[in-house]
């Protein structure tokens, strides 16, 4: 199936979206921001905003995906309720952002299920564990060592190749449709490296004065969310590197898991798992303390379930390593693989899609940034 054919499967057009109340509300607020401009120093949203006088749907979608929900602009705003302008830009952009993911990712509606309902995502996790459990018994290998005594490597590899390829294909198409919607140009290495640096440092969570967010302590700044998010992000990158290095060891050198402590999968995986677990717990705590009405309240439950799933994936992975050689391996492996399975399959329909969309928004921002 060509990318175009897959894209047309989701046939909602930009014209349909024009009438959308969330876009119109964000447009109303951005026009007030553009006349005020007191917040220009906070993050990339405001300098990008000043490039326009009127905002197309695509420009609003781009600004929404550039917003990191740090909430600094909300607390600095002279026009928040009870003022009649009733400003709440972090929320307006959060709602546009979530809707843009739903709109660009095929098939429509699935995202609504997982983004809005933590119960659905917990169900996916339970289903993942059941699938792995059933396979562990039904397809129990004749022989095999370590993990592969529970599930054969072939089954594991086939399962996860399938469950990661399809979501990645769906996400790629979604991001490509986003790119067309926001009017993205040809991407150069400079754009990519600018975006990578911004993402790697989480520059847009620095609050403009390198003091962080106003996320969980109202108008006081803290670095907690930036650090917790960094831990999860870099932890995820390390875990990914662990998986890749494991694959290379397996196929390239015939060295099978479990790996010893001084092998690449463990050198990457253990710190990665620890970072992700600590960061995930941190994000959960912050999300509990933060004011719900400054995000998109409709997806709060789904977002919380997603962070829990991500944290559970990392934590069970760590526990599995800790349990090496004990009777705990079998249940922990099943739980861990079940979590990974649920995470992968729901990838396009959870908060996880903020990663590619935000990155695309950062690349687009690098393209439009004033010299």
């Amino acid at each position: 199936m060509s990318i175009d054919a897959l894209a047309t499967l989701s046939n909602r057009t930009a014209v349909d979206f024009d009438t959308d109340a969330t876009i119109d509300e964000a447009r109303r607020q951005l026009e007030i921001c553009n006349a005020c401009r007191y917040c220009e120093g906070y993050c990339s949203v405001f300098p990008a905003m000043t490039l326009h006088r009127a905002f197309s749907d695509g420009e609003i979608t781009q600004l929404a995906n550039l917003c990191h929900n740090c909430r600094g602009c909300y607390y600095a705003c002279q026009y928040t309720a009870p003022h009649e302008f009733d400003h709440n830009l972090p929320r307006a952009l959060a709602e546009v952002r979530v809707e843009s993911w739903e709109r660009f990712i095929w098939p429509r509606g699935v995202a609504t299920l997982f983004q809005k309902s933590g119960v659905a995502l917990a169900g996916a996790l339970a289903a993942g564990i059941v699938v792995i459990l059933v396979m562990a018994y039904a397809l129990r290998p004749e022989s095999g060592e370590g993990f592969y005594a529970v599930i054969s490597h072939t089954v594991m590899a086939t399962l996860f190749t399938l469950t990661s390829f399809l979501p990645l294909a769906i996400i790629s198409v979604g991001v490509w449709r986003y790119w067309r919607h926001v009017g993205g140009d040809r991407v150069t290495l400079k754009h990519l490296s600018d975006a990578l640096v911004d993402a790697g440092r989480l520059k847009n969570l620095s609050g403009g004065a390198a003091e962080g967010c106003n996320y969980e302590k109202e108008d006081r700044y803290t670095m907690a969310r930036r650090w917790a998010h960094q831990a999860v992000m870099w932890g995820f990158v390390l875990c990914f590197a662990a998986t890749v290095s494991g694959t290379v060891l397996h196929y390239g050198f015939g060295i099978e898991a479990p790996y010893g402590p001084l092998t690449l999968p463990k050198i990457f995986g253990i710190p990665g798992g620890i970072l992700m677990t600590i960061g995930g717990i941190g994000l959960i705590g912050l999300k509990l303390r933060a004011e719900k009405s400054l995000g998109a309240p409709a997806v709060w439950g789904g977002e919380m379930a997603f962070v829990l799933l991500l944290t559970a994936t990392a934590a069970t992975g760590l526990a599995l390593y800790g349990a090496t050689g004990t009777a705990g391996v079998r249940p922990l492996l099943i739980a861990h693989l079940g979590a990974v399975f649920a995470l992968y399959l729901t990838l396009p329909y959870t908060k996880m899609v903020h990663v590619p969309f935000r990155f695309a928004a950062l690349v687009r921002d690098a393209q439009t940034r004033k010299a």
Partner: protein, 468 residues
């Protein structure tokens, strides 16, 4: 910080600060750091705390060389010269120079107490040498000061309305305050009055200005009603400034009655034909660049019937000024525009036709005085005069927006207030309540915050020294 009424009146405070904006908080912080037990009485509810400071954006600061976000140097003489240009000499030179000199040490003090500055990014204001811009604007500054105040153990009471200042033998004794539905008498060893001007009291404005003032829009907080100022004047405190003067600019006529702030400004006048409700021009729209002249347009519009005017432009000029908060009325012809704006169609058409005929070819430079003037037209437009001839046409309504009033309390250079018998023993004032002493007329961007910070800090320090 929702103290019970009894908790406010039971202790004997070292210092009571009346008001909750920039000057009030600077005074409270200085006094608390000197060890005083401080109560801040803010008349507004918490979401509206900070008075007009929540709408400000920057601080004008003298400096010998680059400092923080400020480039170059801005010396005392240049700063004072800039002040003389806008006030036309209506200033107390001694106090003005003290404010200017002290501003330099204020900037690091502000940073130390949580205020963050940003470089001027968008290039819309070329003030990166003279003015330091608050990151996030005035409300972010106010938030930083309230957090500092909380950390210092300062007690803040919101929705605390001061109705009377009890002064005996030139000495402040107590305040009468409405708080939490109760009338309280709160006593203290000293008081700093920093509760702003009276511009939100339309009746007072109407007494000073005439009935037209009821049609004025108030750009700032609805809580600056001048009760404390009035009570002090009734007490016999000496005043400065002209009660009939207020600083009024021309803003978008659709702005909220109160609290519209910066977003309601309209920068389109230099590129417009401006008419009154009868479709007649009444002043040279091209006299000077807008930031310098827009203050006079408040008075010009106030003098027109119903205190309203209409700026008309065409497609050529639509992108030459800062975006407006409300969209312009848009039409394909001048007559349609007049109709949509409920103006007399024939009169507007005639005015525009006459204006267009008086325009001459020449080079148009939107960012400088270009001398592209009309010929044989009364009143003339002496710069940026281009015919309105390119559809679509756009229109904005204009009304006077009051920023602040000039009448205030007379203070000396220690911020101490004077009564009929000389200085009061323990009464200080800061901010807009005494700004008229220095800024008798006109306005200099960022100077209100300079006065508030300098005199707020001075008042806090002096009051703390008095009680210690």
């Amino acid at each position: 910080m929702a103290q019970a009424p009894a908790e406010l009146s039971a202790p004997f405070w070292d210092l009571i600060v009346v008001g909750g904006g920039n000057a009030a908080l600077c005074a409270a912080i200085e006094a608390a750091e000197a060890g005083a037990r401080v109560l801040v009485l803010e008349g507004a509810p918490k979401p509206y705390r900070g008075g007009n400071s929540r709408h400000t954006r920057n601080f004008r600061c003298m400096h010998q060389g680059p400092i923080s976000v400020l480039t170059g140097a801005y010396g005392e003489e240049e700063y004072f010269h800039d002040l003389m240009l806008v006030t036309k000499g209506k200033t107390d030179e001694h106090l003005a120079r003290m404010a200017i000199r002290t501003s330099e040490s204020c900037l690091p003090w502000m940073e130390k107490h949580g205020v963050r500055f940003q470089p001027s990014l968008s290039g819309t204001l070329s003030l990166s040498r003279t003015n330091a811009f608050f990151l996030g604007g005035g409300k972010a500054l106010v938030n930083a000061y309230y957090n500092t105040a909380t950390d210092l153990g300062i007690t803040v009471a919101y929705e605390a309305k001061v109705s009377h200042i009890l002064i005996e033998d030139d000495t402040f004794r107590a305040l009468r305050v409405t708080f939490g539905g109760k009338e309280l008498e709160i006593s203290g060893k000293a008081v700093v009055l920093a509760s702003g001007g009276f511009q939100a009291d339309l009746e007072w404005l109407a007494r000073a200005w005439g009935p037209a003032a009821r049609n004025f829009l108030i750009r700032g907080t609805p809580y600056n009603r001048g009760e404390v100022l009035k009570n002090m004047l009734d007490n016999g405190a000496l005043s400065v400034g002209d009660p009939t003067q207020c600083h009024a600019v021309a803003i978008d006529g659709r702005a909220p009655k109160y609290d519209g702030g910066i977003a309601t400004r309209l920068d389109c006048v230099p590129f417009s034909v401006v008419v009154n409700k009868h479709g007649q021009r009444f002043y040279n729209e091209g006299e000077d660049v807008w930031p310098k002249r827009y203050a006079i347009w408040g008075r010009l519009v106030a003098a027109q019937p119903d205190q309203v005017a209409y700026a008309l432009i065409d497609a050529k000029s639509a992108d030459l000024f800062m975006p407006s908060v409300f969209p312009a009325v848009k039409a394909d012809s001048i007559s349609e525009l007049a109709q949509k704006m409920e103006l007399p169609v024939e009169a507007v058409e005639r005015t525009v036709a006459e204006f267009n005929r008086a325009c001459r070819p020449g080079n148009f430079h939107p960012t400088e005085l270009d001398s592209l003037a009309t010929e044989g037209l009364e009143p003339a437009k002496t710069n940026w005069a281009r015919p309105l001839d390119t559809a679509p046409y756009y229109g904005y309504s204009l009304r006077p927006g009051v920023t602040f009033t000039y009448l205030g309390l007379k203070v000396d250079d220690t911020a101490r207030v004077s009564g009929a018998n000389g200085r009061y023993t323990n009464v200080w004032a800061a901010g807009e309540m005494m700004a008229g002493s220095i800024l008798g007329q006109g306005y200099l961007a960022g100077f209100g915050m300079t006065i508030g910070t300098v005199f707020g800090r001075t008042a806090g320090r002096e009051a703390a020294a008095h009680v210690n």
